[in-house]
Symmetry: C2
Subunit: 276 residues, 2 copies
């Protein structure tokens, strides 16, 4: 039985798999789309990855990630721009629907969150022409406020939209991930606003489970294990007009320690039960 039509598997959910294993595993399970990460893709080779996924007929629903461009010094900013141009080129070569951008946190020693947030639009002003030239759409991903200091100063979908809307919708959209946004009472309104503007470029799902682990990055829960109403989340995106892939992105050492095929089977079953 094929996986649900809109189901996409983010590579980090089955981090134990090499790229060939990922592609073979997805094909065997009838998965039509994958979300990829730059590091493993570069490790395997960008061109080789592009050939592999294309020959398997897989859609690349996203490439994670560009971003980390909150540097306030010119050298840091220039280095970030270079790095993000490479990310754009890789997304183009892979034919990814979107290059996901995580803004980065507060630079060391800085305390002005509002100013760091303002710098993002300026940086995008430099990156967007490059992305447009390569036919790559950018997606700003807000991360949970618990990451505001060290990973992403963009903490809500509303903030992501405030930035994205400074550019044409075909160039810059937003990424809506249930893990980061579930707590926000403005989520429904902001998803509606994003959909009306044609700005929802990616929808990702993971559940929220407690207690959070040290560092909190690897605390994302298997679908159904936590307290997020994932179906309601997906329906909000649908109601806002989103018709694209729904990518399952779970960072969880417990899943990585298991057999990838078994994990994928479980993820698909959970997706049917809690998301579809």
């Amino acid at each position: 039985m094929a996986a649900p039509a809109r189901f996409s598997l983010n590579q980090e959910t089955v981090r134990q798999w090499s790229l060939p294993e990922l592609v073979a595993g997805c094909c065997a399970a009838g998965v039509a789309a994958v979300g990829l990460w730059r590091e493993p893709v570069r490790g395997f080779g960008v061109r080789e990855t592009a050939r592999l996924v294309a020959s398997a007929g897989l859609r690349v629903s996203s490439l994670c990630r560009g971003g980390f461009f909150t540097a306030s010094d010119p050298a840091g900013r220039a280095a970030a721009l270079e790095e993000n141009r490479r990310a754009v080129e890789e997304a183009a070569e892979l034919g990814a629907d979107v290059l996901v951008l995580v803004s980065g946190g507060l630079p060391e020693g800085e305390r002005d969150l509002a100013e760091a947030r303002r710098r993002i639009a300026g940086f995008l002003g430099d990156l967007v022409p490059w992305a447009t030239g390569h036919g790559v759409r950018l997606g700003i991903e807000p991360l949970h406020p618990m990451f505001a200091a060290d990973r992403c100063v963009v903490s809500t979908l509303g903030q992501a939209l405030d930035i994205a809307e400074q550019f044409p919708a075909e160039q810059v959209g937003v990424v809506a991930d249930s893990y980061h946004l579930w707590w926000d009472e403005r989520l429904a309104a902001d998803l509606g606003r994003a959909g009306a503007g044609g700005r929802i470029v990616s929808v990702q799902v993971a559940d929220w489970v407690t207690p959070l682990p040290e560092g909190v990055l690897l605390g994302r829960g298997q679908l159904g294990d936590g307290c997020v109403d994932l179906r309601a989340f997906r329906q909000l995106a649908d109601r806002a007009g989103y018709r694209g892939p729904v990518e399952v992105e779970i960072f969880h050492p417990g899943l990585w320690a298991r057999d990838g095929t078994e994990v994928l089977r479980e993820v698909i079953a959970r997706y049917r039960e809690h998301v579809e």
Copy 2:
């Protein structure tokens, strides 16, 4: 040299101290106000604590805490009401400026965050007359969204105000803690709204440091060790008309392992440097 006039020491910052040690330590350092917690107060005796702080001339800037009233079943709700009535009585006996309320998280197995948030006002409708009868003001404290699942479904100052404003300002206000609110771009506007309505009943400060520890509860940072602009935070509250104590509330095992007198000295010095 006396501590700054508005400085208040929350008891949990020097958890290693018994109540007599806390009172003696505060008197020696010229601290005029303390924030207390129910558990140690009950351990020492509510009446005995009230006598001790009164005889030392200390102001009780807050009592932590009531709340945890998101239960959806009648028995859980009744038990929470009883427990909160006891907390009100204790706050009255201590002469505390405010009884801090932390709403509680999502009940086990529930996924409707909006509904859990709605239940809070209903619960307060039952508790407020009791508090008013005892001359105790209630303060709704929003906790950081990372606690939305398991500790507090009220995640922003705006949400806390939406609830508080259903009651008279002299009965229900809001507690503004830098650790929980620093990331929120609406903070300035919401503090302004809270101040205009006479609703700021407590201001607490702690810094945000990363990486967060497992469980994230004990990750609050010493003033100046993190990325929060604490002075700007205090100034926002002041500009909103707040004139009360500024309570330092840091849960940090590193501070608890040290000599209490030394910790208090450091906290006061940091307060002068980063808050006053």
